[in-house]
Symmetry: C2
Subunit: 380 residues, 2 copies
């Protein structure tokens, strides 16, 4: 046992008029209330954020967040690992429970500020500026390469991508905190969507969201609502696609998954649900394979079989995922664990998975440059 | 004992034509060589960096740095706490030695890219954008307020600031890796300097430097050249000066110092040398007081007595400090520990302090929003 999640909190992911401190405040105090602790009980905190500097001209976010609890001066810092910032922050908190306990983790992001072109440039900072970006590889273009190669190698089709999108949009309709909670998406909507980077079309891409998510982590449980962390692993790979031998799998993800399973003493077959990093529909298929929930090349068939839907044998992205639940970058990895905790407790309402005992989260930075995997388990 | 510094490496701080990965490479491989370890021995790494996004359009620096050792996929991330990023990264490494050992820490920064106005805006991201920056408080202006208040309260004079500047420039002449190693600075030079933000003049301000510094941290020493870490503490305060009751001391610094002394079981009187965060000359005086090396208001007299000079009773910034040694922001806190390690080993050449046994480093983010304090000791 690495530790426990004592409490979680989350804002809605989606466009917001709130500044970062207010978003963080909402998630932090929800997590504290959920854990039964006061802010003065917290011994250290980690802020996960990706684009505070380029988007909001605000760095040094640990000190900004400290302004929410003046007088309670504790160790704190910001961690950034692109879109994996949140998962990495959770991992850090767990890795230092011997030094600080309990630890507060908060992920926060605002993406709705800058105009589209600026935002595309800024998000591109998660990839290699010298090699990939210079060659025109924006993020949709990078994942389009992954999709093209997956199609070529395994016969994956755009209909498989559509199945991911439809499933995740369906799930988001049952998640009041999802970016697209309000929106019904049909195959006709998908077919009407413009191409972003072939073969990826509009509904293959996640939205850019504002939002925050928080969790309180401790080595000791506090009552039956605490959820055990059975495995926590991070792996880092080279950033440029040009430096990788293979594009249909992310070695950082398969490495992190193997290490997390080893720690937890469970295999993929024992996982009851997964929240994975579907920034693009193809990324969900790659994630399913990297987590060992399907063999390489078989995630599409698993998806088409209905197994990854709510009610299937291994529900994936019950929250709606990044695709429809939203992607508030620095908050996303923490938001995935929010969903697992709520599900494992049986608190997920309309989208509740039937009695899950073990859940896995999978949070990717860049195009597989960093991956954080967490395995959570309900206490018997 | 929290752990040991097995090895350190550092580039020159100063203008460089090298990109961040090359700067990081130079420092990392120097630290590895100094430690006697290979990169494949390293179990996790932390990258400290402040302005990679706004200055260089490159975030996700753990994945960039991973490109320096392809195939060795290990946990890694970037930490950012403004100018305290380096000290905080060292603290993180120490706090998780129970999980990963050894850990590589590398701080890297490029500041010589953007034009001056853009750089001033970007550095301002370390302060409160909504309150302080909106009121015109650039960093020199913020520290000018600190200086004005210190002068008013304690009778500190600009001659006291000049004494700090002259001392640190003198020391930098003996440090081949210092930004101003080549430059002799006299009182006449200082007097000829323009006012930046009254009472601070040009020679009260540190330069902006490119550079990198690295350290290998472990729970176990490797031979007599390993230096013990006796204390390591971080504290976070509110970011805005408008939220602080007092401006002549930084509570985050005095808190972190008290905790580090407690861990080390030593008091300020037992410290033989200090590397402190003199981003402005006034900051060195505040640091000396926050570290308890002088009582509040008495750092100026201590400095004028010659006690903080090389050969004095408590040499401060033997390296030249930020003022003359240079300030490569994300690397600075690691660079301070580089200096302490070299000094405690007796490897500091011309600027060697006479047989130091205990050294303290003091690394500040923003205008006291974050502070990291480390206490290092020579093994008997």
């Amino acid at each position: 046992m690495l530790g426990y999640v004592l409490g979680v909190g989350k804002t809605r992911f989606g466009p917001s008029s709130h500044a970062m401190p207010r978003l963080a405040h909402e998630a932090i105090w929800a997590a504290l209330a959920d854990s039964g602790l006061a802010i003065t009980d917290i011994k250290a905190f980690v802020v996960a954020n990706f684009l505070g500097g380029p988007n909001e001209s605000q760095l040094h976010l640990n000190s900004v967040v400290a302004g929410l609890f003046p007088g309670h001066r504790i160790p704190g810092w910001r961690v950034e690992a692109a879109c994996a910032s949140g998962g990495v922050a959770l991992h850090q908190a767990l890795a230092m429970l011997g030094t600080y306990d309990p630890v507060l983790v908060v992920g926060v992001e605002r993406l709705s500020g800058p105009p589209g072109g600026v935002l595309t440039h800024n998000i591109g900072m998660a990839g290699d500026v010298g090699l990939d970006q210079a060659a025109g590889l924006t993020f949709p273009a990078s994942y389009a390469l992954v999709a093209q190669r997956h199609m070529e190698r395994y016969g994956t089709t755009t209909a498989d991508f559509d199945a991911v999108s439809l499933k995740n949009h369906h799930n988001a309709r049952m998640n009041p905190l999802a970016h697209f909670h309000h929106k019904t998406v049909t195959q006709a909507d998908i077919d009407a969507g413009p191409t972003v980077a072939a073969p990826l079309r509009l509904f293959d891409c996640c939205p850019v969201s504002d939002g925050a998510a928080a969790a309180v982590i401790s080595a000791c449980p506090r009552g039956v609502r605490s959820i055990a962390v059975l495995g926590s692993a991070v792996s880092t790979d080279v950033i440029s696609l040009a430096q990788r031998a293979e594009h249909t799998t992310f070695p950082a993800a398969s490495d992190a998954a193997a290490e997390a399973y080893r720690q937890a003493g469970v295999g993929p077959g024992e996982v009851d649900m997964a929240e994975v990093h579907d920034c693009f529909t193809i990324a969900e298929l790659v994630a399913i394979e990297d987590l060992g929930l399907a063999k390489p090349g078989e995630a599409a068939a698993l998806t088409q079989s209905g197994a990854t839907a709510l009610g299937g044998s291994i529900p994936v992205n019950a929250s709606g995922g990044l695709k429809a639940g939203g992607h508030a970058i620095g908050a996303t990895g923490v938001g995935q664990v929010y969903e697992l905790v709520r599900q494992l407790r049986g608190e997920a309402g309309e989208r509740q998975v039937a009695s899950p005992r073990i859940g896995v989260s999978h949070n990717v930075g860049g195009v597989g440059g960093t991956c954080a995997v967490h395995i959570l388990g309900r206490r018997s």
